[in-house]
Symmetry: C2
Subunit: 584 residues, 2 copies
């Protein structure tokens, strides 16, 4: 279902009931850009620590706009033995609510816009019909302002302090406004009148004069025409009528406020449902969702009191999405990593249709757009959410008895990894610097004697190179000793140098354990969420990380996916139960 | 004529010939936003100095995108006694040229986007079909790269230095690539073959091997399919055929480069034409035009060697647009300011249809979209350019014998004010600070005893207030002495305070003449340009400025518009003749 400003209100109930009945839902976002700093491939490096990845995305991605939000709900129908899906495709745009509301600026990245254009993306739907939204602070502010105006109106309005600082009676009416106010009083002999919009000061005078002359029998209201012309409507009424009209006015204002909260209401509903939310490589989606609809994580254009660090972000995420699962992470972890060669969404979707997986049985609910995976509509958020959900079901079915546990609503399989972030071993990683003309192929050439390597670019003149064998590190170091055009450091040397630089800048260096691991302090947990870009591209690396995982792995270190108690229902979900480890 | 990427190349000749035959042309731009700093009304203050205005716009407006560019050419047809107009409406978008070209980021401002959306603006035309462009540096870089590639190809390519630093013969072929290269040589027994795209290193090996084995008889070329898949095409040819193919390839590359230069070619053509360019409140249009299509003035996202200051900007502008005229400035200056009450484009267009002005006789050239001013299509750039031209003709006709002088191509009336920027007297201006709750009406209230005032907001808690009588300044100052909620300074005190702050920051204070004016150093001039937002809102102010204007005013200080020798033709226009004063 395509949802824009035009059909948003009438679609809300369909959204709510889809969320209510869903066993789980998948989400996806489309953005006006990815990186305002380094180029996209350099933005998130395979060897980033969680802090680095989060900080980079926060710094370089939050000023883009999440302008299309896809939700696809999945509900298992036992009689049909299939999933009933309800895909929604929302267009979102921060249309200013009124002349005093924040005028948001966002960045567009030409390559992203051009890419979406080539996929047939409809920008007019975003910019002309996008559903508005407010974050929580903006919503609170607007509600407070509205309350304050109502209060002021009820009690009469104060005048600027330099005119009559403590006046409770009518304000002193300056000479040049006396005519105007007399006309206002004169007109009140008629039943009602409209006054073309006066200045703020004149408006105050009107309210005051009327409150003073007719303390009960007048209803005053600001009316805005479709052409944005504003009038003051003044109507003589009896007490009952006045109350009725004030009630009407309050209701109208409440509705306008709800309209302004707009798409955020959908996110609030997802959050309240407590349902499992699945996404593919969803860190950026979750960051943007929280940034736009809850609290700004960062931003050149946004005033905020303090930066949200990774720990804060995790806590907010746990509140907003108590249960998250990333299909890219899932596909990159045992047992799936041995079955799936390419974890991009499009490729994953193809692979989980083939043996040993099975295409899940799905049916689109009546009245919803039916997607055909043969005609790929990738990069429409609703479609991407739909196939993300399909991938999840296929993989979960492979693990066995998913549908039963989902429908029984007692157990949900998800990655239950808790505790502080792990700092993986990087013994096999080299930090290489070289002339800016070098390309990846030059690095492959340089290390051609060492077999398979993995290159993670840092900037124009440096990269991490992961060797497949740790014992080759010393050979590479020795070989490079006399090289002039390039330079090699071990990962440990690189980190030490970085910490020394930080120390110079007055920061405390982090402590490292003897074995190169920072010791995690485990916390007991009943709920956890995990998502992100997997960085396990090398077998050594993966095993090391899995071995250190305090929970979620059995003794053999092979099974990462296990059944764990679900946290469902509305109760307590806003309370942080524990902290989870985020895999980036 | 609506011009997008789809019909750009076939429309270029129509653009060129319209410019060639035009007596003058009008331009207008639509942007993705106006201000990324203070709100739009505070961005440009009526009392800004030229430096301040330029600096503010440079700092807060250059990261938006000029995405619709309107040009309307006007040619006087003597037989018909009317102007023949050719309006063009270009959609512009910085589509990346290839994978190595800059990935431009630009800011969108919700209010601007929402406003354009409400006017029926078609964003899909911009983002999906916008004409690409390059600034001069990007163009030079791309042409150099292309030249370099050609040169490398002709001479064989060097290998990375760590393999064979001084090799002129074939490169050392590493063991794992030998099979590949042998296959390449083997295939050359066939007539031609395609090679699916190899790594950069393999590509080098191929080029070298082929150059070594077949120094004359091979044509090698990189081919990109529509799906962006790249191949190397290798064809055995004789010497003549090889030359022919290389010539073809060069021409194709040149055409691709010209396509990448795209819309900038239109701006270059305007510049080369040397024709009078008219705009309404055109400072921002000119700044954006130079920023996007010539040299970045500033930018958070653009790497640049040095900031372009006001003086640099003027010099660049004189080169790019040797003759500029701003209709808003014209309408705000004598004799028009006494006839025209509202200088916004829409209102001006209405007023110059009425007595004492006359609607100009115009006719749209065949094959061009005919605009109807009764059905206002304001904020389509082509339409705005069209009515800007109409306003210019009406006002110029009022001054007399415009059409004759235009058609004779000997004299063009324009503001010929030269010399350094004037620093106008601000004796009647007060600098007022107050609590942030204050609105304009509070200021009107505060100064209600002083008759008509003008308020120019600086920020939330300060504004310039211009009194109509200079002798009231002292009264206001005295009255404010005991005020607690607000504070008043004279303009001179304010400026002094500002300079003292600058001095503290290590900057040299500017010298001021005894009479409060900085002495201008006049330069003789044969050409000048002027445009911008007029700040003459008070009679005193206007007269003061006009009195000091070294040229362009007669002794009575009443006529600002006079005939002056036109600078036309292509000769010498790229040479800076003199500097002009820009009125902001």
């Amino acid at each position: 279902m395509e949802v824009t400003r035009r059909n948003f209100k009438e679609s809300l109930n369909a959204v709510y009931s889809a969320l209510e009945e869903a066993d789980f839902l998948a989400i996806d976002g489309e953005f006006s850009g990815i990186s305002d700093g380094p180029n996209v491939s350099a933005l998130t490096n395979g060897l980033d620590t969680p802090e680095e990845r989060y900080s980079k995305l926060k710094k370089h991605s939050m000023d883009f706009l999440l302008f299309q939000f896809g939700i696809c709900t999945f509900k298992y129908d036992q009689t049909k033995s299939k999933y009933i899906t309800k895909p929604f495709n929302f267009y979102v745009f921060p249309k200013p609510f009124n002349r005093t509301s924040p005028d948001l600026k966002f960045i567009c990245q030409s390559s992203s816009i051009d890419f979406l254009a080539s996929q047939g993306f409809d920008f007019n739907k975003v910019f002309c019909q996008g559903i508005p939204y407010l974050n929580q602070e903006e919503e609170v502010q607007l509600r407070e302002q509205s309350e304050e105006r109502r209060h002021q109106h009820a009690n009469g309005v104060g005048t600027p302090s330099f005119i009559s600082p403590s006046s409770k009676g009518p304000a002193h009416v300056p000479e040049e406004h006396k005519d105007f106010i007399n006309r206002v009083i004169f007109y009140l002999f008629l039943i009602a009148f409209f006054c073309s919009f006066p200045t703020r000061f004149q408006r105050k005078l009107i309210y005051q004069t009327l409150n003073w002359k007719f303390p009960k029998g007048i209803h005053v209201e600001t009316v805005e025409t479709e052409k944005k012309e504003r009038y003051i409507q003044v109507i003589k009424v009896d007490d009952e009528e006045r109350k009725r009209r004030e009630q009407q006015k309050r209701e109208r204002e409440q509705e306008e406020l709800n309209d302004a909260v707009g798409f955020s209401r959908v996110i609030h509903a997802i959050s309240k449902s407590g349902k499992l939310v699945v996404g593919h490589n969803m860190l950026l989606d979750v960051m943007h969702t929280i940034h736009q609809f809850y609290c700004p994580l960062s931003g050149a254009f946004v005033l905020f009191l303090h930066e949200i660090d990774l720990q804060d972000f995790k806590e907010v995420t746990m509140c907003v999405f108590p249960r998250l699962l990333d299909t890219k992470l899932m596909a990159s972890t045992l047992p799936f990593k041995e079955l799936i060669t390419n974890t991009s969404l499009a490729e994953l979707e193809k692979q989980v249709k083939e043996s040993p997986f099975k295409s899940p049985q799905v049916e689109t609910a009546e009245g919803f757009h039916s997607y055909d995976t043969a005609q790929q509509q990738l990069h429409e958020a609703g479609y991407d959410a739909y196939i993300t959900g399909l991938c999840f079901v296929s993989m979960a079915n492979y693990l066995g008895n998913l549908s039963r546990s989902l429908t029984s609503k007692r157990y949900i399989p998800y990655l239950n990894v808790t505790g502080p972030d792990l700092q993986p071993k990087r013994d096999h990683v080299l930090f290489v610097t070289f002339p800016k003309e070098w390309k990846t192929s030059d690095l492959y050439q340089l290390f051609s004697a060492f077999g398979n390597i993995q290159v993670s670019w840092l900037d124009d003149t440096s990269a991490f190179v992961s060797l497949s064998q740790t014992d080759q590190v010393q050979i590479a170091m020795n070989t490079s000793r006399y090289a002039e055009s390039y330079r090699i450091q071990t990962y440990a040397e690189y980190v030490k140098g970085k910490h020394q630089n930080k120390e110079k800048l007055g920061q405390t260096p982090k402590s490292w354990g003897e074995d190169g691991w920072r010791k995690p302090h485990y916390a007991s947990a009943t709920s956890a969420a995990t998502f992100g870009y997997p960085r396990y591209t090398l077998p050594d690396d993966d095993e090391a990380e899995e071995k250190e995982s305090p929970e979620g792995n059995d003794a053999e270190g092979t099974v990462t996916w296990q059944q764990a108690p679900a946290v469902h229902g509305r109760k307590g979900q806003k309370k942080k139960k524990s902290k989870g480890v985020f895999f980036f």
